[in-house]
């Protein structure tokens, strides 16, 4: 649906989206660098691994989404699944 004459909103322009993403990537990079600069108090030996939390967060979320996607093949049904008797 188009809304002619409507003013352009901030994310209608692709360059604004790209600007946001570039800023986001920059912060991610900065956080990685800080990992090596700042002194950290380690509570557990796993945390010694460089960028432990960054890697964990990324891998965890990719796994989460890919597994959930596979789950759909088994558990997904039509919206009226519970409304009809089979």
């Amino acid at each position: 649906m188009d809304h002619p004459g409507e003013k352009q909103h901030i994310f209608d322009k692709p360059q604004n989206v790209n600007r946001l993403l570039r800023g986001f990537y920059a912060i991610c990079g900065l956080l990685l660098v800080l990992d090596f600069v700042l002194h950290r108090h380690i509570a557990h030996s796993w945390e010694n691994a460089p960028a432990f939390y960054a890697i964990f967060g990324f891998v965890a979320c990719v796994l989460l989404v890919l597994i959930a996607k596979e789950m759909r093949k088994v558990i997904m049904r039509k919206e009226d699944y519970y409304d009809v008797d089979e």
Partner: protein, 565 residues
């Protein structure tokens, strides 16, 4: 001001009565004044250690028992009721307004209950009063979901009563103190609490019913029932190790469902189970830090989950739709709601400076201090996952993503005020946690903001977001689809009815075959009779209608006589 022994549920129940007989602005004034005055009274006039015991028959009911634990939940429920009332000020529906007041009052009654009978009464009142917030949607789906909700909630109450009676029989006391998993009474009460707490496999009432409630009803629902259960666990079962494992499962499995769920309020319902998981873990660990973390997280969760339910309620109210597949681009019409949603999303994701961070970190720290390394990894996984489904998915698919072309108005003023109050609280608690920490029941010296912790959390969250961006760019992110995902509820929503239908059909078929078989000899006799010579006589061919009526009358009369005997 008033007497300090006034149980906090009383003003709410009186308000519910007054709401029934008033109209217009007076009714709204009563609804606003109740949580405000009640909250002020509780804060200033009711110290820890107050109690009110009312003898009824041979029992003594403790209608009020205050300590730092019950008081904290008392304050919280007044805040939640106040925010909920403001959010629903535009509603002109006596059923919802009365039940909201009764529901909030029942929650207060339950947390201040000092004995099992009082707890049981309010436990059931919570169920009965809240179901009207679901039925008030007045759709077929909502009525059926509400019925399932009610049945399960009432079952929880029945288990609680059974456990309490066994407990009374064994110990001679009805006082609601530490219970523990000793004997049958402990287990019965544990399962009763577990149902309301949405333990795995007992959780589907929540994801089934909350998304069917009215836009404003879901805000009340999200605040009270499960948090009363967390309170009850924290009082009855602190340090029960089983809870750590149950909690860890609760944090992990719902996030998979949340990723592929289309109804955004159902996504919030799943993420609610995930957040309660952190609290259950905290209660299970049972150290002072962990218990403080559990109740602090309950406190924050009511506010940020309430905020998220409010933003989704506002979208539902304006568009009549809350499916991720049909929304998108709503930030153009509802920019303020979008911004408030992002505050709620940041809080639930435990971004530093937002409320979730200062409470969840206590549970996480306690977990690793007590040596639950692998469970700690599960919680870390769940922390990344919660950001993924609640922190990003909710605001992204509702307000951004591709523009679905829906144009509407910004949320009504009262909704914006309520959401803003919740958002301000999220940021205030996140930046000034010392005020919340000062209210916590146990003495602990804890401060969440240190370099290591902040950096770790930021890395976790930003790289989770990076995963979202990457998956989206690669086209790997599962699209929002109109669908239902099978969960444990399948057992009673599909297997039970289908197998009941199967049994009924088989029995019917069997019965008809049996009757055919039983009639066969008679049919043969009749045929033989009609072929015989007797058939030539008048009486054998025609049964006079009059004699049939007579015989029926005789039969019925016989039944009457038998019945009288």
């Amino acid at each position: 001001m008033w007497m300090s022994e006034l149980p906090p549920f009383v003003p709410f129940f009186l308000a519910a009565l007054l709401v029934l007989v008033t109209r217009g602005w007076l009714r709204l004034a009563i609804m606003i004044a109740t949580p405000v005055l009640g909250g002020i009274h509780l804060w200033f006039d009711v110290p820890a250690g107050t109690s009110l015991v009312v003898p009824i028959l041979e029992y003594e009911l403790t209608l009020l028992r205050t300590d730092r634990l019950s008081l904290l939940f008392g304050y919280l429920f007044h805040i939640a009721a106040f925010i909920g009332v403001i959010f629903s000020l535009h509603v002109r529906d006596t059923m919802q307004q009365v039940s909201a007041m009764l529901y909030a009052g029942s929650a207060l009654g339950a947390v201040f209950a000092g004995d099992f009978i009082t707890l049981f009464i309010f436990w059931e009142l919570l169920a009965i009063s809240s179901v009207f917030l679901i039925w008030a949607r007045r759709t077929d789906k909502a009525i059926r979901a509400g019925m399932r909700y009610l049945i399960i909630q009432v079952c929880s109450g029945v288990l609680l009563l059974a456990g309490a009676l066994v407990h009374y029989y064994q110990t001679g006391s009805l006082a609601f103190e530490f219970i523990g998993l000793e004997g049958i009474s402990g287990w019965l009460i544990f399962i009763a609490f577990g149902i309301k707490c949405a333990f795995p496999l007992l959780h589907n009432w929540l994801t089934d019913a909350y998304p069917e409630a009215t836009p404003t009803g879901a805000v009340f629902l999200s605040a009270f029932t499960t948090k009363v259960a967390v309170y009850a666990l924290a009082r009855g079962f602190p340090g029960t190790e089983l809870l750590v494992y149950i909690g860890a499962i609760m944090t992990c499995f719902p996030i998979f469902y949340a990723v592929i769920e289309n109804d955004l309020r159902r996504v919030l319902a799943y993420s609610m189970i995930n957040q309660i998981g952190f609290m259950v873990c905290g209660v299970g660990i049972g150290t002072a830090l962990a218990l403080n973390g559990a109740v602090a997280h309950a406190f924050n969760d009511v506010i940020f989950k309430g905020l998220l339910f409010m933003t989704m309620g506002a979208v539902l109210y304006r568009t009549g739709n809350i499916n991720g597949s049909d929304l998108g681009g709503m930030y153009k019409s509802m920019p303020k709601t979008a911004l408030l949603c992002i505050v709620g999303a940041s809080s639930i994701s435990a971004f530093p400076l937002f409320s979730g961070f200062v409470s969840k970190s206590m549970v996480m720290t306690a977990m690793i201090e007590e040596g639950y390394n692998y469970l700690w990894l599960m919680l870390l996984f769940a922390s990344a996952g919660v950001f993924h489904h609640a922190g990003i998915k909710i605001p992204y698919f509702a307000f951004f993503a591709h523009d679905a072309g829906i144009r509407t108005k910004e949320a009504p003023g009262n909704m914006l005020i309520a959401m803003s109050i919740a958002a301000i609280l999220c940021i205030f608690i996140g930046t000034q946690p010392q005020y919340l920490y000062a209210l916590l029941p146990w003495e602990v010296d804890y401060w969440p903001y240190d370099t290591t912790h902040v950096l770790a959390q930021l890395q976790l969250l930003f790289f989770s977001a990076l995963a979202f961006v990457w998956l989206n760019k690669q086209g790997l992110y599962p699209p929002e689809l109109h669908s239902v995902n099978i969960d444990a509820e399948w057992l009673y929503r599909k297997l039970l009815p289908v197998s009941a239908g199967f049994v009924r059909n088989s029995l019917q078929q069997f019965a008809s075959k049996l009757s055919v078989a039983a009639k066969a000899p008679f049919r043969a006799m009749r045929e033989a009779l009609t072929r015989s010579r007797i058939a030539e006589h008048h009486l054998a061919t025609h049964w006079p209608t009059g004699s049939m009526v007579l015989w029926i009358a005789v039969l019925l009369g016989g039944f009457l006589v038998l019945d009288a005997i």
